[in-house]
Amino acid sequence: MKLELRKIYVKDIVFSDKTYTDSGVLYINKEEISKLILEDERLQEVAIDIAKPGDSTRIIPVKDVIEPRAKLKGDAFPGTDGKLDEVGRGVTYALKGCAVVTTGPIVGFQEGIIDMSGPLAKYTPFSKLNNLVLNIKKKESVSPHEHEEAIRLAGIKVAHYIARQCIEARFDEAEIFQWKDLSVKLKEYPDLPKVVYVYQCISQGLLHDTYFYGRDSKEMLPTLINPLEVFDGALVSGNCVSAGSKTTTYHHQNNAIIKECFKRHGKEINFIGVVLSPMTTVLDDKYRNSILTSRIVEMLGADGVIQSQEGFGNPTTDLMMICKRLENKGIKTVLISNEDAGVDGKSEPLPDGTKEADAIVSTGNSNATLRIPPMDKVLGDLDALEHITGGFEGSRQEDGSLIIEIHGILGSHNLQGYSYLGAVTI
């Protein structure tokens, strides 16, 4: 399995009468995009804006962020948009340095904030991107669940469409990834420790879902996947998990652990597998998923595992249950988690734990607060603030600034370790 990822670096987005890219500029035809979104009869209207790094712009409440990608042949985002076929091989175009951001009236309660400048900007990777912001409103009669689906699909459709218009353009860089079968990997690097990535995704239902090849992940069992599929949009975020710990579609497409494993493959580790493991609410499911996940890892013959989580609290139990089983099988495990150590940082940071979890990377204390000044432009709906995780009654200050917890910032403590934030004890 071989995937060539052709990257086009987008340094600016400009509205135009045609959607295409040239010399680092992405041109967008607003009417085309608008028409594409409103093909979905559940949606009433859309406002399209551009938010660039350094702008005095706040986007709230953000539902998802998607990197525009398309296949040279066939479709990306299988099961979500276009023709459903196997992905993870062939040629894929990725528009780097830009993203499609969906916002609009609140769907669930846990959507996030992106500021394009000011103190919040360094907490979210999305402030560094040129963002095409879709502010979408649904028709009145549409239920919350339909609302979530319609907006999820709209974001993916637009990102896919834009990238498809850029396939003929000159690309800046190509990266080639190979995923060989296990027998070859074992022969290639017999002396390196075999590492598997346990890829946990939120699958709790009630607006806490992830989609794999379009399939709702709460209905699936843990399964072995090809990491290159993830680069092609096989995993799509469809959830309203608290913004800081949400794995957006962008995070899936650019999974930091997969990238890091590829970087070290053949040097320090033999990267032999990825197990996608749903995190559910029912206790029996947690047992079942932890049994099956650790058993797949064991059958692959792994020496070590990196485990990533999504969400916090209830999913921490899934994280710990799998870790316990892996360690008891003699498989060395490293976990990634954020912490809720309280506003004053004095609380026990994790809601669940096991003594086997002796190697954890922290992506930060999400209860810590941050004061953010007003922005000139608000895209979306600032009134959603009190209803998102990290916002609260009293968030608004007299001088127009806001006090929020890190939780509310989109991607602030991503549990795949995409960012630099971490907590330490002083």
Binding site: E260, I269, A359, I360, V361, E386, Y420, A423
Partner: protein, 345 residues
């Protein structure tokens, strides 16, 4: 020049030994006793030295604090240095309280020095810098040099590094920093070390939790008073008390004696951790008040407590949850409640 206020006891203040442990606080302008060891090294002026007997401080804490307040407000120091107390218990408590009180009330930086096993360490370490010292005054020279180094960093307005770099006892406070490497890079670094059997350091210590002993079972349910609790965020419609959608730091109680269940439209969910559609259709799905009213009518339980308790259990810190749990349990016990049902989401 930055101003420093110094605190010490009867012994290091050169008044005398144990027989002077009952002297009330006094203030001397300038540098007295042990403060002399700091005088020429700190990048600031020691404007005054407060001396107080160790017994007096522990027996008259409020009075001593009032004395401190008066002097701090008069002298306006930039830094307070107390001790070092080494392993002395009462002196340690006094130094800890002086530093903690002044820091909390005035936001002025404070430093003391203690041996790691001094009982005051556990009580005050999160409120002040406690430089780790040896057991006794035999380690004075080293203690002074470590305290001076930290003091000068504070006086220069420099950022204070990690405990192991600066020599202070960890305050036990988690703070956010931006690392040079991403979480994924750090995770792979850690795994490679773990696989090689090399030393690595977890970034989150393995959690330890208080074990709560379960109450004895109820012997006769028909006589028992039962209370209903939920962390599912069910509140009267409109959320009159603004219970937060997540990371709630308080709980509320609302009467249930005059209703037979949670009617749709009268109650709603404000919890941000789940989709509230089904909860709002029928809030009894989160907390089954309707069923408990039925049990009460049928005499299957003695009675239902007249209030239900609610918070949003969503990214709540363990410390906040523990405090709320203790407060609720106290009230239930005082109200003669025999058993409680707590629903989560």
């Amino acid at each position: 020049m930055k101003r420093i206020l110094f605190y010490t006891n009867q012994f290091f203040g050169q008044i005398g030994g144990e027989e002077h442990a009952n002297i009330p606080p006094r203030i001397e302008e300038g540098v007295v006793g042990i403060a002399n060891l700091f005088k020429d090294k700190v990048e600031g002026k020691i404007v005054a030295t407060i001396i107080c007997g160790d017994n007096y401080y522990s027996e008259n804490m409020e009075g001593c604090r009032a004395f401190l307040s008066k002097e701090v407000e008069r002298l306006r120091p930039d830094l307070v240095i107390a001790g070092p107390a080494f392993n002395a218990g009462r002196f340690g408590m006094a130094c800890g309280d002086v530093c903690s009180y002044i820091n909390k009330k005035y936001g002025i930086a404070t430093i003391t020095g203690m041996y790691i096993e001094n009982p005051a360490v556990e009580i005050y370490r999160s409120d002040t810098y406690i430089v780790e010292t040896g057991k006794s005054a035999a380690f004075m020279r080293k203690a002074v040099s470590k305290m001076v180094a930290l003091a000068n960093k504070i006086l220069r307005g420099e950022e204070i590094g990690l405990p192991e770099e600066e020599g202070y006892i960890p305050k036990g406070i988690r703070v956010n920093i931006f690392h040079q490497k991403t979480g994924a890079e750090r995770a792979l670094d850690m795994l490679v070390k773990k696989l090689k059997g090399e030393e690595y350091k977890t970034e989150i210590p393995i959690p330890t939790y208080d074990k709560v002993q379960a109450a004895k079972p109820i012997t006769d349910l028909k006589k028992a008073k039962i209370a209903l609790l939920t962390s599912g965020g069910i509140v009267p419609f409109g959320n009159p008390d603004h219970l937060p959608a997540a990371t709630a730091k308080f709980y509320k109680k609302y009467p249930v004696s005059n209703i037979e269940g949670f009617a749709k439209g009268d109650y709603e969910s404000v919890h941000a951790g789940y989709d509230p559609v089904y909860a709002n259709e029928n809030p009894n799905r989160i907390l089954p008040l309707d069923l408990f009213k039925e049990l009460e009518r049928n005499g299957e339980i003695g009675s239902l407590y007249e209030f239900y308790f609610v918070t949003t259990g969503n990214s709540t810190s363990v410390a906040d949850a523990t405090r709320m749990g203790m407060e609720i349990a106290k009230e239930l016990k005082e109200a003669g409640v025999d058993g409680a049902i707590m629903t989560s989401t």
